[in-house]
Amino acid sequence: MSKLRRHSVIPGFGLTLGYSVSYLSVIVLIPLSAVVVRGVAQPWPQFKEAVFDPRTLAAWRLTFGAAFVASLINVVFGLIVAWSLVRYKFPGRRLLDALIDVPFALPTAVSGIALTAIYAENGWIGRLLEPLGIKAAFSPLGIVIALAFIGLPFIVRTVQPTIEDLDPAVEEAATLLGASQFTAFRRVILPAVQPALVAGFVTAFARCLGEYGSVIFISGNMPMKTEIASLLIVTKLEQFDYAGASAIALLMLVSSFLLLFAVNFGQWWSTRAQRREA
């Protein structure tokens, strides 16, 4: 054991290593490996059937599509919100800042039923949309709204520190040199916040792919139309189709791991590039 570590007077290496690794294995690694084994240990046609039958395909398209649209909306508005929070002093700024964390703290089932109440036909906003022929709850739009709610903090909290680091003098210099506000935004601000925006987008997107509680109430869960991938896993489990559920879960796990790996790699790469410039 002592060969493994740097010589140290501090005790507890063996104890904490043993405990941490065993606990991690029992709670996380062994259970997660069950999905991988169950998912892989089935004949390919069966796996293909579970993952690519028309109903599941429709769920994939909806899940990825809604997560993409919701995260795109959040990139635009999240940037505006983060910018306002960092650069402007206004009454209620701290309240606005605190509200951003509500989706982190509010249980998803609660946000789910609250959003449904608001966007249903007789709800506060649903009532206004109905005469326009827009159906928000029990439609893909409702799913986008729920995912936008869930994803907003990821983007705002990723972009905020980058804007804090941005020196206002640089944009001022650009405007003094004759650039319009739009040009200053496009040529000075956007390039600086772009890596954070991309990281925030991917993190929010990955989170939205697996979201369940806030979506299932507002979506209406109609097969082929408003059924998300997470719900299909639950449906398969209820039919005791463990292999099918594992196949879908495996594909979802791989997607979100790849996305989050890409974010971490991107961040590592950009800090390395910055260090090299310095």
Binding site: L4, W83, L99, I100, V102, L106, G210, L253
Partner: protein, 265 residues
């Protein structure tokens, strides 16, 4: 001009998307009056759901707190091969969706699971029972506390502990008298965040609970059942308890962030 427009857009977007649902919870809860509200939250099924929620959160937090302390001590005080791998593995549960966090325990302990047969033969039930609910909650809250402690302890280094050891303190005493006071606020911070997730978890718990009323229902599952029975006002009444928990969590979070800043300055 730009300033006004941008502030206006921010306030409107956050107001509609986030504040409105929060307000809706309270308004819908009191739609049928205060007596109905009080009856809904004091219903025996609501009370048993609250009880299970508290027990589950308590056990999960204790388990993950011990792990968080062990893992952060290991990672911050020693350097060994595989340290960064261990660090990334701790974050794994954050990348796993709620439903899958429940599914994995069904695959292990369900009737057709790896250990399913062995358990049924001995009359032990894990999924569709309280242990399953607790396991799923431990899994989803796994990284919270460790994640707050590790960077802080890494930053603090080992000098203070080394000094204490050289002055003759035992390892346990060093931990209790030197390390613990240094990390206490970050520790409380991690516990607060983990607690919010533990009490509010829905997807993972929903999959493993089996929805047995009065036995394996936590507060979020109780809300779902009431809602699906079209008992909306009662569902929102119970939801106010969790919404209040969220508000208390945010207030505690703001206080602790302020405390940690003061401590660092």
């Amino acid at each position: 001009m730009t300033r006004r427009v941008l502030i206006g857009i921010s306030v409107a977007f956050v107001g509609i998307l986030i504040l409105l649902p929060l307000i809706a919870v309270f308004i819908e809860a009191f739609r049928k009056g205060i007596p109905f509200y009080l009856a809904a939250i004091s219903d025996p099924l609501a009370i048993s759901a609250l009880h299970l929620t508290l027990v589950t959160a308590g056990i999960s937090l204790a388990a993950n707190l011990i792990f968080g302390l062990a893992a952060s001590w290991l990672i911050a005080k020693f350097s060994f091969p595989g340290r960064s791998l261990l660090l990334s593995l701790i974050d794994l549960p954050f990348a796993v969706s709620p439903v899958i966090s429940g599914l994995i325990f069904i695959l292990l302990f369900g009737a057709q699971g790896w250990f399913g047969r062995a358990l049924t033969d001995r009359g032990i039930q894990i999924v569709f029972a309280t242990p399953g609910v607790i396991l799923a909650t431990v899994f989803v809250t796994f990284p919270f506390i460790a994640r707050e402690l590790i960077p802080l302890m890494q930053e603090q280094g080992t000098e203070e502990e080394e000094a204490a050891m050289l002055l003759g303190a035992s390892g346990w005493k060093t931990f209790r008298r030197v390390t613990l006071p240094n990390i206490r606020w970050a520790l409380v911070y991690g516990v607060v965040l983990a607690n919010a997730r533990a009490m509010g978890e829905f997807g993972a718990v929903s999959v493993v609970s089996g929805h047995i009323r009065g036995r394996t229902n936590t507060l979020p599952l109780h809300i779902e059942i009431l809602y699906n029975e079209y008992n909306f006002s009662a569902a929102f009444a119970v939801a106010t308890l969790l919404a209040l928990l969220a508000l208390v969590t945010l207030a505690a979070k703001a206080f602790l962030e302020w405390r940690i800043r003061v401590e660092e300055a």
